[in-house]
Subunit: 204 residues, 2 copies
């Protein structure tokens, strides 16, 4: 059975949503960041990167959110989690998810994980201070150029929405008001009303 | 005809290599970072993110390296640039490329682009100072856990190698010796001897 290692509220929410939407049976295992469980020998044996999510399959362990999301979509095509049959549409999925992982998640990470990129306390504080500005800029790009509406890809609810929803939930902590971005805010509300999404949020 | 916007030596090298390996006819257009051409109104009309690479197709503009690489592989399957028919193998490609874009490229970017995450000169200098350490850690992860050898995926030369080669070429500037990582160094040398790779490097 597929097994997902996640931390509540982390980027692993996206993979958790995709699994739940796929209809497959799976187990979700919480990794307790408060106890630094992601750095425990037991977890490092699963994912040497010491991060979540990690998806355990019969073929091995898969890491990195965009890879896990596309893999779930490909394994369970009946759930229509991504436009798999059209390389151009699939490329839009990939482009959007790449932007989230390499730019938006990274912008957010400078609030809590500045130690990854500097050993200096003042520098880490300085990075933290700029997060509201960088996250606002990222969401302006998403609102103005990337979301077609009502979903990221237009009429097709997909893994892109699940990943965006996950990161949108970080905005309040980053001192950015989701209501500055009407398409993003409407999508978030639609997802908060979705019973599958509610089930995952409750489980976490 | 496909058109690639690139800056020499940037992460766009990977897409340039994939296009050349695919066998398709394409045009490559240089974006001059020294003249801040990526911020010009003409270029922002092509890619509002103000970054390279951007791939212009008859269907629209595609951005983000992992998306461009997979799209080229899917459009020209005869070139066998990725294992497209096996979702698990394709997921390995995606996982590797996601790690490069979200962790390794980001680690490197703190050398030259610290201003993205802080407005403070001392903080930017502090980030720069840590780059040799973070890039070394990333390449330890690649060498020890991610490259199967001789290529990233084992015996199959793929878009993963093209992307890794691109970033490996940044190591010297990041004060990291590629020879600390024997599999990475051997792959880099193999690619430097490859006539298609040589053609792209010369063209840039």
């Amino acid at each position: 059975m597929l097994k997902l290692y996640y931390a509540p509220g982390s980027c692993a929410v996206a993979s958790h949503l995709a699994l739940e939407h796929s209809g497959v049976s799976y187990e979700a295992h919480k990794v307790d960041f408060a106890k630094q469980e992601q750095r425990s020998p037991a977890y490092l044996a699963i994912n040497p990167k010491g991060r979540v999510p990690a998806l355990i399959t019969s073929l091995g362990v898969l890491t990195e959110t965009p890879a896990i999301l596309a893999y779930i979509a490909q394994c369970f095509p009946a759930a229509r989690l991504a436009p798999l049959d059209d390389p151009w549409q699939f490329a839009q999925v990939q482009s959007f998810n790449s932007y989230l992982c390499s730019t938006v998640h990274v912008a957010h990470a400078h609030r809590y994980r500045g130690y990854r990129w500097s050993d200096d306390e003042a520098a880490i504080a300085s990075m933290k201070q700029k997060v509201p500005q960088t996250m606002k800029a990222c969401f302006e790009e998403i609102e103005n150029n990337l979301i077609k509406g009502p979903f990221v890809l237009g009429d097709h609810y997909s893994i892109c929405d699940m990943y965006l929803f996950t990161i949108t939930n970080w905005l309040e902590g980053d001192e950015v008001d989701v209501n500055w971005f009407p398409k993003v805010a409407a999508l978030r509300q639609w997802m908060l009303n979705n019973p599958v999404v509610q089930k995952v949020l409750k489980a976490q």
